[in-house]
Symmetry: C2
Subunit: 996 residues, 2 copies
């Protein structure tokens, strides 16, 4: 203690004073508050129970009757009994059963949750919020009001949010400004400040808010924000820009700066923005903000917070294998907060600081720094959350500080998300509140400098960020482009421009890795702009197909005998070349197959994944399995099948073609690649990649018309293996024809086929609608529904059907339909004129049986390319053609289900079994759906497209496919033949000792 610096001494002084005023032990035993605390404390010790409890609370508002509540309560808390510590088990065992006791319990639970929510949420409407604000002011607190709401996924909702803000801006001043002044709240060191303070979330003002397109997003957000700001400015109010998840940060800052540079707002000082100390970017951001403010010439305010999305950010970073944007240790955020706070206090005349924290150490530090720097009281303020740490707030008021309460109000339903976040915060291992109020931590420890804490406390109580590397195996998915980072957007724009200069090229077949002469030329065009030619490609002839087969056969033995490690090495090389050419390949996918930026990027990343994953998988698999006994060695190992024909689709033009090809190659087969006509140039780019990776002559590339060369490839007696992804019709034709074994053929052909789907998502009564609407929308209309995995049926519980359908239609309306090269494009055209014709014909057929409730109006776009907007049918019967036939376009059938039985019956009632989805928050429903919704890939509470290699091995059954899942542990087995060698090692009665 004696070694404390002057500064630390000053901080301690403030801290002890605050603690003295707080009197930590004033919670009376057996009071409701005490009971809450004990219960909470007990519960929070069991991570599993905590998860279940939060999930239950999250679901609660949607549960309509007490039976449903009781069911959910039992399902959530009943399943966690195993492995719980004694106290928690005791608590659980006292839960009443069903019947009247259950109903009573359900009501109690609902009441308790509402009670809990009321603790943190100021009211469910403006009136309630105003009376809460009045009470706050009675306690000498200021406020900033926050509007809780559902996620904005439709433009109608964005309009609604705008209106609510507008109401606040218009309504509040009349009430608030007439209240008696509280000087320490309503004035700063210079004079009066706005009493009405409104916190705004920009993402709520535009349904397609997306950092991939900052220009479009800014334009749309400002269209709704400007009138709010004008009114607020004219009424003398304060507007604060809240900060949300990291990926929105740069866009939020951009919008903040953009609007404040506009002449109307250029001189307005009563605006602020939240800055999160847990971000590694923050010190740089603050520095830039200061420079920008100076340039603008008018001060602003900054609310410095630690940040509320730490779990989310670390999980997303781990899932995507992106750099973690937040500090991974709590003390790092605390230390950053102190550095940033000092920076703000040093520049308080440009940036008025508001310190948002419940951490006594952090706040004491700000007080001490302000004292040290001589910053006048009132030039800075403190902000705390409604319903939390009231003693702390009072202590600050007693110290004469301005305290502003972040005061959320809104419907209970969306409010639960906020509640859960608050509960998490209060119960996290790192929580200062938990440490100071519920645990017996000394004041000195609580006031310790976070930097020192780092050394003292590395292993105890700190929550480590979840990490991608926790998963087994070495393979890592290639991270998708972080399009919220500017340099990635720039790289993609640049690539699009570069590729646009290369649209006059010709592409020819390759046989045994060598380009060959071309005969018949075809044009490649851009589906987004059908007049645009992308190049010419030569259709291979049946004779060339035969030559390719002969080459594959000739080159097979050497490739088969190439060491496995060497073949795996080639895959790594192919992956490396694609990594190097990633933006260029993405750009080609945008032009040739009309994939929007993210879809194009994911396609290239998946191609890279297939290379890396299969290389690694094969090296594991190639090690012979030994089953030795004394005197006998047995070795089980694999060898390739021979000549493989790969027939690829256009919808994942690089990924699927590459996956099928490299699976065949790494296992030692030679390959003939037939790309889809519609994505021949990308096929040719892949051929370039193979050349660049210096593969031996073990591959041929045969652009061509399926009907012309397909029969030759499928029926040749020299082909051992056909790997196909495409339509059911072609797949079954291949399967049937490949099964004919003429006498000249000395083997039985193997067919691996991924065919179609008619995939459904079930939306249960208790689904999180924000997620369900978004999930179904993405799954149905992402890449215009041109994925085998796409959702073409939404099966919705009747109790929420109308609500869901309404929001879904609104959400579909809100999609940005545009050329794929537009970064803001949420949906481009379909692949070609034939597809458009086919889809429109299906829609026409659908209309004869079912009700078309939404069809997008495409306007001028309709003539520019092969555009088909989103189409939604409702009241679709399960036998309707629109509910049975694969459409492969942006057409969704919404169907009403009476109950789960009915939903499952509809869901399973097609000839396909590829993907499926369930949106529900009932554990028992989830359990049943997991068992009974029989599809290859079932997704729970998320979109049903976007399978990742290794994590979601992909493929279906019934008529959706033949063979095991691509990107999964059994896939390569299909490309090989097992052999066994048994060696008798006993000679003359003597056998070598077994090696163990």
């Amino acid at each position: 203690m004696s070694s404390l610096t002057v500064e630390e001494e000053r901080i301690r002084r403030y801290g002890r004073e605050i603690f003295a005023r707080m009197d930590r032990r004033n919670i009376v035993p057996f009071s409701p508050a005490w009971f809450d605390d004990v219960l909470m404390n007990t519960t929070m010790q069991a991570e599993k129970l905590k998860v279940q409890l939060f999930r239950f609370i999250d679901t609660l508002p949607l549960l309509k009757d007490s039976k449903t509540v009781a069911d959910h309560l039992k399902e959530y808390l009943g399943t966690t009994e195993s492995g719980l510590p004694g106290i928690a088990r005791h608590f659980l065992n006292r839960l009443p059963g069903e019947g009247w006791a259950g109903t009573l319990l359900a009501k109690t639970a609902k009441n308790n949750a509402e009670h809990m929510a009321r603790k943190f949420i100021a009211g469910s409407n403006v009136q309630e919020a105003i009376s809460a604000i009045k009470q706050l002011r009675n306690r000498k607190y200021g406020f900033t009001i926050d509007l809780l709401g559902e996620a904005t996924i439709t433009e109608a909702e964005a309009d609604g949010v705008q209106k609510q803000y507008f109401d606040l801006v218009e309504g509040l001043p009349g009430v608030i400004n007439n209240l008696p002044e509280i000087p320490c709240v309503d004035r700063n060191h210079l004079g009066p400040i706005p009493r009405v303070n409104i916190s705004v979330k920009l993402s709520s003002l535009f349904s397609q808010f997306d950092p991939i397109d900052p220009v479009g997003t800014t334009r749309s957000v400002l269209k709704r924000l400007r009138p709010i700001m004008s009114k607020a400015m004219s009424r003398g109010e304060f507007i604060n820009f809240d900060m949300e998840q990291y990926s929105f940060k740069d866009t939020t800052l951009h919008i903040f700066k953009t609007v404040l540079e506009e002449p109307e707002f250029r001189n307005w000082p009563h605006v602020g923005i939240a800055i999160q100390a847990y971000l590694k970017d923050t010190e740089k951001d603050l520095q830039e903000l200061l420079e920008w403010t100076r340039k603008r010439g008018t001060p602003i305010a900054v609310r410095l917070v630690k940040g509320a999305y730490w779990d989310y950010e670390t999980v997303i970073a781990a899932q995507q294998d992106w750099p973690v944007p937040v500090w991974t240790e709590k003390w790092q955020s605390d230390a950053c907060f102190e550095r940033c706070g000092r920076f703000l206090l040093q520049n308080y005349n440009w940036i008025a600081p508001a310190f948002g924290s419940h951490n006594v150490r952090s706040i004491s530090t700000m007080l001490a720094v302000a004292e040290e720097l001589g910053v006048p009281k009132g030039a800075y303020e403190f902000q705390m959350l409604y319903g939390m740490a009231d003693e702390f707030k009072d202590a600050m008021v007693e110290l004469g500080q301005r305290i502003r309460i972040y005061t959320p109000y809104g419907q209970l339903l969306p409010g639960m998300a906020y509640l859960v976040r608050r509960l998490l915060e209060n119960t996290s291992n790192d929580s200062f509140l938990r440490a100071s109020f519920r645990e017996n931590t000394t004041e000195d420890k609580l006031l310790m400098n976070p930097v020192h804490k780092a050394q003292a406390n590395t292993t105890n109580g700190t929550t480590a960020a979840p990490s991608h590397s926790e998963k087994p195996g070495k393979f890592k998915n290639e991270p998708l482009a972080e399009y919220h980072r500017e340099f990635n957007r720039d790289a993609m724009s640049h690539a699009l421009a570069e590729v646009a200069k290369q649209l006059d090229r010709d592409y020819v077949p390759f046989i045994g890795g060598q380009a060959v002469a071309a005969e018949k030329w075809q044009d490649a065009t851009n589906p987004s702009q059908s007049s645009q030619k992308l190049g010419r490609w030569a259709a291979s002839t049946p004779k060339q197909a035969e030559e390719a087969i002969a080459s594959a056969k000739k080159n097979y033995p050497a490739w088969r005998d190439t060491p496995a490690a060497k073949r795996a090495e080639y895959l790594r090389k192919i992956a490396d070349v694609m990594r190097k050419r990633r933006w260029e390949l993405s750009a080609w996918a945008v032009y040739e197959t009309a994939k929007p930026w993210r879809e194009a990027d994911a396609d290239i990343a998946e191609a890279i994944d297939f290379c890396d994953y299969y290389a690694e998988l094969f090296l594991k698999m190639v090690k012979p399995k030994r089953m030795d006994v004394p005197g006998e060695e047995n070795s089980y190992f694999y060898e390739p099948r021979g000549v493989a024909v790969v027939i690829a689709p256009w919808n994942f033009p690089l990924a699927i073609m590459c996956g099928m090809t490299v699976a065949a190659l790494v296992t030692g087969n030679t390959v003939i690649i037939k790309p889809a006509e519609q994505s021949t140039i990308i096929g040719a780019k892949f051929a370039e990649v193979l050349k660049e990776a210096e593969l031996p002559p073990v591959w041929s590339f045969l652009p061509g018309i399926g009907e012309e060369i397909g029969p030759t490839l499928v029926q040749s007696p020299d082909v051992d293996l056909i790997v196909f992804t495409g339509s059911q019709q072609v797949g079954l034709w291949i399967n049937e024809n490949a099964a004919k074994t003429p006498p000249v053929q000395h083997h039985v052909k193997r067919v691996i086929a991924e065919l179609g789907g008619k995939n459904a998502a079930i939306v249960d009564a208790d689904a999180d609608l924000d997620e369900a609407v978004k999930g179904v929308l993405d799954s149905a209309f992402g890449y215009s529904g041109q994925k085998c995995s796409a959702c073409s049926r939404a099966i919705v519980h009747e109790s929420i059907h109308d609500q869901f359908l309404h929001r879904l239609i609104e959400a579909a309306k809100s999609l940005t339909i545009s050329p794929a090269s537009d970064p803001g494009c949420s949906m481009g055209p379909v692949i070609d004129a034939d597809a458009k014709k086919r889809i429109l014909a299906m829609i026409a057929k659908g209309k004869s049986q079912s009700l078309l409730v939404y069809a997008a109006d495409l306007g001028a776009l309709a003539d520019q390319g092969h555009y088909v907007g989103p189409h939604i049918f409702a009241d679709v019967h399960e036998t309707d053609v629109i509910a049975q036939e694969e459409i492969f376009g942006p057409v969704l059938a919404v169907m009403k289900a009476k109950n789960l039985d009915h939903a499952l019956q509809i869901a399973n009632g097609t000839r396909y079994a590829l993907t499926g989805g369930i949106f529900s928050r009932s554990p028992s429903t989830l359990e049943r759906v997991k068992k009974e919704f029989r599809v290859g890939n079932l997704y729970v509470n998320r979109k049903i497209t976007g399978a990742l290699v290794e994590r979601q091995p992909f493929g279906g059954f019934k008529l959706s496919g033949i063979g095991s899942k691509a990107g999964g542990p059994d896939y390569l087995l299909q490309f090989v033949i097992p052999r066994v060698i048994t060696e008798n090692t006993m000679r003359r009665g003597f056998a070598p000792t077994l090696e163990s």
Copy 2:
């Protein structure tokens, strides 16, 4: 030391006296003997090098030119360089390269090996043996002469051995009895004893020596042994019965007793038998031998040895999972030797003991016990091996003891086996010789009581017996019947008799586990005796097939949803029922499919194996594979396909049917079993087993005519999976038809098929011909060649072709062709009249192209059943019909190969790729054949049939099969469909912590 008993003191006294006389350090440094010793000692420290060196020595005699010798030397010793200790590496690195130095080395190696062999083998012919014997007598040693020879695998060879014994019996007395008498050798305590002492190996006197048939074996052995014994008796010679491997022991004792009870030999005392102290049976055997001797009334002799097949016995026991017949610790054998020795000395007037050992402790004990019991000197003798421990022998002579030298002579080639055994003995960790001569072990330690040694020395230097349990996993193959044990033979005889009483029964179809009405009856008959009816079975109708499919479909969901563990439990129950009914099921296989005893037993054991293995494999596989990342749980798991049709063959009537069925059942499919017409009763017995195991109604049993119900089963749109084993023609028909997917069918059928083979064994120039002839013979003619795995082509290196062919024909001639119920049957009939007709037609066709060099004369048997004797074609060209078409009968094509390239080209030159074999002792040849002889199951230096579940997963490719290997790790994957469930576990930005 002070605590030694009187007896131990006496033993020590003798031991020290012997050691004193031996002078252990009289080997002069730098003498050839010293160099041998150093070299040997160094080499023996490296287990791997020891193995390679012994293998090289074993191969050496067959190597015709010095280039071949050099090649083998380099191949054997070159591969061991890695991981060798320094000295050995130093030794290896000094080996010269190729060229003149290599040739010189080769010659040196050959000379050295011969030199080594000469040390232990008295000569290569009788003359050399006689002069060696003379030298032995000069050193005051007696002798017993032993004839080294190849394994007797033909009756011609047995005749040859008989002649050699005859020559010895006739020729030796004239020479030996004229030599001057050596009293201590030529007299015992009562007077003169035979000078000529001949050791006889009974297995060399009958090519089909087999303990499964003691009666037939005794008859055949005695036919050749009796004249030898008569002559020996009349000439005053001594005959000793050598003891070989454990499985021959009871038969050997039986023959010994049988012949000596015959009036001619009843009073002959000059006969002895070797008894092995390392056997756990031995004390009981000695007791019985004493009682028998007393009953006979004439004394005999016993040569008590430790036993020379310890490695072999332990390896065989481990391989077969049989009880280990030998003591597993060296000290136990030593202690047993002492107990048995005392027993013999106690009864020396009935059994004259000869103690065969080089262990000073053991010998000293015998001397001490003889002294203690007052057994007169000369009433017992000592026997030691030629070429070993000469100082010890001299010491014994000096002590006035009778020493008899076990004196082998014979060709170098067969002698090598003997040499290797001697070398092993001298270099084993347990070797007394090694301990006393090469290691610095104290006399006290060497003379320690083995029982005390056990405690003192448990972890150090004792060789543990190899154990079956060393292999990974819990699964153990069901041990085959130990037919060398009488109670097993009795059980089988009893079962055959019981089943013979049940030949009037009717067998009906089962649908959903219930017997149904029958319409059309078929007779089942015994192929061994075609007039014998075995019962009647009802041919199912197509309508019944449809009912069975409907039942399977109806019962599928409940079975699919039955917990995996429960389904696995049913398999264990099925296995248990078959275990319980094992002999009965074997007997049925003998009657209905004409399987000889061992083949029938193996079939039942394999059926049990399939149950146990698939149950275990499935329980491992059923555990979902998790691939979780933060906020996302991914689970990869399997579900069944649906309705499986199992179409079974008759040649493994229980095993294959059971394997296919239980694989489908355990994975959750319901099953329709169609047995082969020819083995319907066994099928019906399996249905009884399923009933007895109380399976739910998830199976149907449809006896029937393939042409009648096959199309219904294969083409039904309600069948998901067809599992077939049978002919190529039917298999391809199924494959082609199952691939048709009519619109009513909502899935693509899966076909798993095991088809035929045209399997070859390559016999290289350096093959061990004993093994190659036996291996090819077993593979080609076992179960009359009616196995997919049977060898139907022998591809023989031209340099040994004629020698191989000659022996092979002789061996085929020697086979016992008889009804399968005869325990001595080596080959029974083929399955039915059609098969016989088809095979004879193929033979006729073969004769038009190739040379039939052997066809068995069946005599009266030909009319009794469907017999086809072994047929051998020679000079077969690779394109001849007999070399290309599967015959599925006892027909072998022998083909001459110029070299390995040629052999491989022939071997791989068919449309099949099922099994194959290579007999070679060249490491480089083996390596190449392993790589380039592309078959499903390749066997090295053993027969190519008899794959065991798990150890040799079975199945081929090309036209030999569709799908993965039965009894292997990937088999069950074919019966299931992979699914993935992906759950987004993040709600409100909060995700549970990953469980690791």
